[in-house]
Amino acid sequence: MEEYSNKVMDHFMNPRNVGEIENADGVGTVGNPVCGDIMKMYLKIENNTIKDAKFKTFGCGAAVATSSMATELIIGKTLEEALDITNSTVAEALDGLPPVKMHCSNLAQQAVKAAIDDYKKKNEKTE
């Protein structure tokens, strides 16, 4: 099989920001168990900035590593900056992914977007 980069293996074996955020400002779930990938992203947002991010992932090594990398990339960023992160940004930050695993980086980017959308929706209601 095609090998994972050292960075992917590092983020898989020692994932950053695993877990949940209680009373998170935005939560997004993407993927489905049939395909074997589910990512749940939790965001803490203050003044339009992502203060904290945590994730839970059901999936392969690449799915876990991209989730972990995505949280690292978005913490401290404004919502606009976080939404600018593409799947290739995530993949490049991990020194690349095997071609068959590229969809995992899509999933990570979609999870971030879903969590931000959730935050925006909640805020519309309270305003």
């Binding site: 099989m1 074996m13 168990p33 059901f58 999936g59 392969c60």
Partner: protein, 387 residues
């Protein structure tokens, strides 16, 4: 860190005795078996004696043994060869829905060529449904192809019973015995098969060599056209070294099968019992008894197989999984789906297949490292509710 190899259904380590038998044919004994001088005649003699070793191991006649490049080639040849040679008689083939891709994809190819294939289902334990097979038989059925033992869940199929049905209806029977050989007795007469596929590298022999047994009188087309090798049915200068290797390997693998099988079974049973006892939400895939003595296939709910394999690898354990991520497609193993597993549980499967060099200490080590891995992945999974 020690490496613990628990993936013998994928491949096995070449035995020293087999290597010693092979080496001269990669060096000084390089003659072409089709030539007339001593160097060539010696190569021919070596192939003949390998053919006798294989024949003896499966209770066949030497002239019923054909050497191929792999188990996959043998499966391809058996099915296409019978289909092409028996076009006059019919265009219907019956197989099961848990066959190896070497059989399934060959059947799918023939479907495009106008043949009709019936895929008979297995039950939830992974055993072929004989009643369904009976119903599938048609006047124009020319071949039934059902594996002797499954490569993923190890289930042993009722080939003798299938043979009776096939004989009653004058249908050829092929079995893929690639996983079975060396683990359980394989006797072509006792099984009542017309064609049988074998592979070298699953029995501590070399990769790149297989066998197709073709019972005398079976109508089958040649597979590779060219010179007169393999009695005009499979052309190409013989892979002498590997043929000699599979001969030796099969002789060694079948000489004391009882002791080997008992050894495997001890490790298998210990592993199954302990895992099911200590890890919650785990289930055994495939029939508990009617399975290969060295096969364990267990699903762990809420987690994904590739992740288990990567973490086991970091502890030195080599294993495999039926998850989509390890198959290179989006779907998990067709075998696990065939026995009724939902996709998400099929994704979380782990296959452990034991071999000669494994010991109880290997199992103990596995049982030490596996539970924390499962726990860790579950803690990371959004599907798992920790309570």
């Amino acid at each position: 860190m020690n490496q613990i190899y628990l993936d013998h259904s994928a491949t096995t380590k070449l035995k020293k005795e087999v290597l010693d038998t092979i080496l001269p044919f990669l060096t000084e004994q390089y003659g072409n078996p089709s030539t007339i001088y001593t160097l060539g005649r010696e190569a021919k003699k070596a192939i003949d004696s390998a053919r006798e070793q294989v024949a003896k191991a499966i209770n066949a006649q030497p002239n019923e043994i054909y050497f191929t490049s792999s188990g996959t080639e043998s499966d391809n040849w058996a099915i296409k060869g019978v289909a092409y040679a028996n076009k006059q008689k019919g265009k219907h083939i019956i197989t099961s829905n848990i066959e190896h891709h070497a059989v399934l994809h060959t059947c799918e190819f023939l479907e495009k060529e106008g043949l009709e294939i019936t895929y008979v289902p297995v039950d939830n334990e992974g055993i072929l449904d004989l009643e369904q097979l009976k119903k599938a038989i048609r006047p124009d059925t020319i071949l039934i192809s059902v594996m002797l033992a499954n490569n993923e869940i190890g289930t042993i199929q009722p080939i003798r019973e299938i043979s009776q049905l096939a004989k009653e209806h004058g249908i050829y029977l092929h079995t893929d015995a690639v996983q079975a050989i060396g683990s359980i007795p394989v006797d072509v007469n006792d099984l009542g098969v017309d064609l049988l596929s074998l592979s070298g590298h699953k029995i501590y022999g070399p990769k790149g060599v297989g066998v197709l047994y073709v019972k005398t009188g079976t109508k089958i087309s040649p597979f590779i056209h060219g010179g007169g090798q393999e009695r005009g049915k499979r052309a190409g200068t013989e892979n002498v070294a590997n043929i000699v290797g599979i001969g030796k390997a099969i002789e060694l693998a079948t000489q004391d099968i009882q002791a080997y099988s008992t050894h495997l079974q001890e490790l298998r049973d210990m592993t199954i019992e302990e895992i099911l006892k200590t890890i919650p939400h785990s289930r055994l895939n495939g029939h508990r008894e009617k399975r290969l003595p060295g096969n364990v296939n267990i699903s762990f709910e809420y987690i994904e197989g590739e992740s288990i394999l990567l973490m086991l690898d970091s502890k030195g354990v080599c294993a495999s999984s039926g998850s989509a991520c390890t198959s290179g497609s989006l779907d998990p193993s067709h075998v696990l789906l065939a026995i009724g597993l939902p996709h998400e549980i099929a994704h979380g499967s782990l296959r452990l297949t034991f071999g000669e060099e494994n010991t109880k200490d290997d199992v103990k080590y596995l049982l030490e490292v596996l539970p924390p891995i499962i726990e860790r992945l579950r803690a990371m999974s959004p599907l798992y509710n920790q309570k």
